[in-house]
Symmetry: C2
Subunit: 334 residues, 2 copies
């Protein structure tokens, strides 16, 4: 078991509330296990844009737009947007933000971005610095393949450990309010690197980071896995979440039936995505649909959301580096 | 004049203090105007590493290391590192963080990153979430040229509006303490895009963002430029800072003699860098040397530090997009 990191967990005195949310996904994602939960499904991957990059941007803009409406707010009332994404220089985020009067806080945690943005957003509300903050991220299968792997036109074969980047976006609006799901505490992750060098096996690279954050979180909050109705990692995928289960067996915090992974769950078996979904949009779209809707219905009362990110770049892989990873955890309660 | 954004400015009740800092730069930077202020000068751009990317990473690691020592702390006492950089997927930051026991909070604001990391670090201290936080960034001329422009070996001519990416890193350690420079308030910037498409003219692209943040800041804090001993933008360069002066002439907040720009000042005229320096390391190294050292001597009592970032990517430029920009402002006082 790893040593624990006391101050990595932060507690919110004035728990921010999620007063609005929105998720939208591509067609493939809408045919998976969460089809009845997503707010919107794109008919067309390009959304009539000229490039996948501008389609990705449009998805994020739309999610911000609709989440703002769902919170009964106008753009002018969103004090800041805390956004990040996988494209170089997080341009989906910055280009979305230029359409808004809100302050822009750019973050990057790869596929852990949804959790990181929620934590920074929560600090802004808890500290009474701001009134309403939008937190979100997105990813797009085609822009990610192009940037991180190979041109789609090449028709490359996918290795068995691979995951499928989710085309999706999710945005939550945080505010000081009396009703709505509360964010009560959070644990920032430490970067872990166990020497995995295979950029097609992100699950294995990220599982140790998820373990490190989970152990720190349970230690610091005096909780155990059973205290949560759902423990949900981001996009470890099937193999990665199996590795995490194995790793946690050696800790005092064995994961039980209440543990799942957004990536492992988002596609159905018939969809042949190997280990499941990945991408910042995976956990963002699942959190802002399935998780939040189930909480609003009272089916989950306390959820531990642990988004996981592989902090590599195509260049570090070419230079023979291993893959550092990070996981940030957020507690949502009703 | 643009409308102002009330909640973009945040005030710290328990002002965090800068209890440690470190700056290091390359040889070229050490021959400029701030030569006597930098803590360390690299003899060799590669620092005996195999690639410029790993040299950049080593610079940031060293700055974190030395800043921690200057604060009389051990690594274990740094609760979090708030880092970002210009390389794809901010790998200088994430790879530096994997050497540390601290939590990793990845941020991205291009060359505004030093200010963004200071603001998020300040929130962590002000909210009593954490005890000590390291905030910093870096850039390297050769890794930036390679990623954003052309291979150095090509020997491309530099257009007259170009700036020279600073090889440098700067880190500040923030803490709850009774002595040291205080961070009293800050203004998050809104993304501005005035349609500039020339990726060799970043100063022009970023000046409107600096204006927008300055006006919001002065409005929200009821201050005027004369209230500060120094107003320092990040890396607008000579042309960009002239544009900012012009833009501010039309506002109620004309900039006077106390206004400067890190990029415009860092190199001497003899160094032929066209419009001066740029890069996240420009404002980070100048803040953590010249500015902080002058403040510690009492020569500056109140400084407004406004780091500026161009939020483009090489791909958005190729796709014909204009350049969005952001500027974040931080007030330092003794």
């Amino acid at each position: 078991m790893k040593e624990s990191f006391k101050n990595h967990t932060i507690f919110f005195k004035n728990s921010p509330r999620i007063i609005g949310h929105y998720s939208l996904v591509g067609k493939k994602e809408s045919e998976g296990n969460f089809k009845e939960y997503f707010d919107e499904v794109l008919n067309d991957d390009l959304i009539r844009e000229k490039s996948y990059e501008s389609a990705e941007r449009k998805m994020l803009q739309r999610a911000i737009d609709k989440a703002t409406i769902s919170a009964n707010l106008k753009y002018e009332q969103i004090d800041a947007v805390v956004l990040g994404d996988l494209l170089n220089q997080i341009t989906s985020s910055s280009f979305s933000a230029r359409e808004l009067p809100s302050a822009f806080i750019g973050v990057y945690g790869a596929c852990s971005t949804m959790a990181e943005s929620l934590i920074i957003g929560s600090m802004l509300i808890d500290g009474s610095y701001m009134e309403n903050v939008a937190c979100g991220t997105c990813s797009h299968f085609s822009s990610s393949e192009k940037q991180y792997r190979f041109p789609l036109e090449l028709g490359n074969q996918r290795p068995i450990m691979a995951q499928w980047t989710v085309t999706g976006a999710g945005v939550s609006i945080l505010s000081k309010a009396d009703t709505g799901i509360k964010i009560t505490c959070a644990t920032f992750g430490k970067v872990e690197d166990y020497g995995v060098k295979d950029a097609n096996n992100m699950g294995a690279a990220m599982a140790p980071a998820a373990m490190s954050t989970l152990i720190a979180h349970f230690d610091n909050t005096n909780t155990i896995p059973k205290d949560y109705d759902l423990i949900l990692t981001g996009d470890l995928g099937k193999l990665g979440s199996d590795i995490l289960r194995d790793l946690m067996e050696k800790s005092p915090y064995k994961l039980g039936e209440n543990y799942s992974d957004c990536g492992a769950m988002i596609y159905s078996k018939r969809q042949h995505t190997m280990q499941g979904g990945s991408g910042a949009g995976a956990s963002a779209s699942v959190l802002n649909s399935y998780v939040i809707k189930k909480m609003e219905k009272g089916e989950f009362k306390k959820v531990l959301f642990v988004a996981t990110g592989a902090l590599l770049s195509p260049l570090t892989t070419l230079q023979g580096e291993s893959i550092p990873a990070v996981a940030h955890a957020v507690v949502l309660e009703i």
